[in-house]
Amino acid sequence: MFKKIAILTLVLACLSTLFTACKPAAPPAPEVPYGGELKVGVNAEITGAIPTVGEACVAGAELARDEINAAGGVEVAGKKYKIVLVVEDNENKPESAAAAAKKLVTEDKVLVHIGANASKNAIPAGGVCNDLECPMISPWSTNPYTTLRRPWVFRVPFIDSFQAGVNAWFGMNEFKATKGAVLFDIGSDACYFQGFFFKKVWEGLGGKIVAFETFTTGDKDFTAQLTKIKEAAPEVLYVPQYYDEVPLIVKQANALGLTRKTGGPTVIIGHDGWESPDLIPLCGEDCDGLFFTTHWALDIAGEKTQAFIKKFRDKVGKDPESTGGLTYDAMYLFVEALKNCGELTGDLAKDRKCIRDGLAAIKSFEGVTGTMTPTSEGDMIKSVQIVQIDVPHKAFKWYRTVEPKDYEAALTEHGLSVEELMK
């Protein structure tokens, strides 16, 4: 009996030393802060309705991590650091995204929080990161509220107002147009703002909006508006709607002879809401040859992008979705911020602040999704990809990249500022 107790005590004693040994027992004044390992939190939609978005996000982050670590890590103030990912699943739920952000920031003590992707998750996660003062980069969220009045929150994609402006610029330049028109759903705030910003930039660049037509969510008949637009004969019609309404609008426009394809005066252009594998089956021939703006295309020209796509395919075995490239860029934005920061102290609060300032100080970053510069609001002035719908090949083919400098130059010429036009 006595012997048994003695053994048990001994075992417990051994076990307890084992456990304490696991805990990093605050090494006194470490040589290299964080033991040479920088923790990056990834808050992704791994389960839930959009698992492929989360999958591509995590794969993009892992790809960047492996590359950086294989090259010996990131060098900050002469010291090398490896990157360690801490991945959390937010189940594509706003409340889980906030909880995951809180866990990453307070328990895992990450230096930077990457994610969440969908705006409904990124908005609450952004609130948590901003309150806890941890820098956050959302790879995919385009909703203005993700970063609005949140100095700690940044994003990789362009936002809708910027996209609408680029569409106005592209429409005017590509089709030598002066007369523009918009048709949008007045019941959807995202569509409303896009229509509004397109008009603002189009008129700012010296064009005229000859028809500014709306409809209500759920409408299927647009013939009254399209007949009216035909009467005004614009050269460009901007349709900031989604893939389920676009086929109806385009088909009716073609039947009315509004479009160039059917002998009319107008070219229809759109935004990234058009991008869906369902668009081509739903629209068919009618949509062939139309242009829209987006974040990502698999055939973007550029060595850096193509090299990334190849590496991604080798690693994951399939083509990267947009979140793959955008998260990859988010990782390198973090590296860029570290360089701008210049020194890590080991004091988490201080280093996070330094990284935030480093992100805000980025001037022009070249990623796989294009060149980008953050605004004071943490939004990106960045390249916009223009793709053309190719119905026979069932593909969205990359057409060109609108570089921010071209767009900015045109705006400056007319006395406008990009940042002002994004608000």
């Binding site: 709306t214 013939t223 009254a224 007949t227 109806l248 039947a255 739903l282 068919g284």
Partner: protein
């Protein structure tokens, strides 16, 4: 001028589809004095049957239309037998609520079985467009308008010239006395539902060819508008439903054409409101003594 004519063509197309659906509301109201709120969803089921007939069985236009009408007629009769007949003696409100329930049931069963994805009907009709004095009109529009008018004429013949039609009118006139005279009430009511639903299916098929995106909730808004058309024409009156539908199409398109389109629904429903203020029973409605 071209502009006005073009908008007129747009209005006739929209009106003829509203008419096919409005007829079902009006007929059912005529014989049972109840508003069948599930009718918009019956229209949606008609569109889905047409979709499957056209994609899975690869049927051409006419068989697709007939299959959809037949299937939906059966659905209409089943709904009446299982959901409305047991409640025939119940308060009116219970039946209306049941109709809502049936509508939601149809929406959700389609949603559960097929998912929320949008589908599009293959092009069943040639997409040729004619240009007459600058007005563009497609074969599609001509067929839609033609089929609608044809079906309405057939309906008019059934109601006005056949024994069953006479029974329908009689029941609509007095639902309590007429069965006592040997008119088979249940059979006539079933027939009414069958015809009304078949017309909704025709509307659904034509609608999903003209506006080729179908989804489980598509019946809601169209159903509402057709109901408004039926009321505006004088609910219970068949010719009224047709007139109301074309009028609503015209009002919707012309307000969209004249005013800024963001005021379209606002103005068009103010017009409906004014019409009903001037003629509370609708265009063709007759003031009826409330029975029971």
């Amino acid at each position: 001028m071209t502009y006005v004519l073009q908008q007129l063509v747009n209005a006739v197309q929209l009106g003829s589809i509203y008419a096919l659906i409005a007829l079902g509301y009006s007929m059912v109201y005529g014989v049972l004095s109840m508003v069948n709120f599930a009718h918009g969803d019956v229209f949606m089921v008609g569109a889905f049957i047409a979709f499957f007939a056209a994609t899975l069985s690869k049927l051409p236009f006419l068989p697709t239309l007939l299959v959809s009408m037949l299937g939906t007629a059966l659905l209409g009769v089943t709904i009446e037998r299982t959901a409305y007949r047991p409640l025939r003696k119940a308060p009116k409100l219970s039946v209306v609520i049941t109709a809502w329930g049936v509508g939601l049931f149809l929406e959700n069963i389609i949603l559960a079985l097929l998912g929320p994805w949008r589908r599009s009907l293959p092009p069943l009709l040639p997409e040729k467009v004619y240009e007459v004095y600058g007005v563009r009109i497609s074969i599609l529009q001509l067929i839609i308008i033609g089929v609608s008018i044809g079906l309405m004429l057939i309906l008019d013949f059934i109601v006005e010239r056949t024994k069953e039609g006479m029974a329908m009118r009689a029941i609509s006139f007095d639902r309590f006395t007429v069965p006592l005279m040997g008119v088979p009430e249940n059979r006539i009511i079933s027939l009414t539902f069958a015809i009304g639903s078949a017309l909704a299916a025709a509307g659904g098929t034509l609608f999903s060819i003209a506006y080729p995106i179908i989804e489980p909730v598509m019946g809601m808004m169209v159903g509402w508008k057709a109901f408004i058309a039926a009321v505006m024409g004088g609910i219970g009156s068949i010719r009224g439903a047709v007139a109301g539908a074309f009028l609503l199409g015209l009002v919707e398109i012309s307000t969209g054409a004249i005013f800024p389109s963001r005021l379209r629904d606002l103005i068009s429903f103010v017009v409906v409101w004014i019409i009903l203020m001037v003629k509370p029973t609708g265009l063709f409605g007759v003031a009826r003594r409330q029975k029971a």
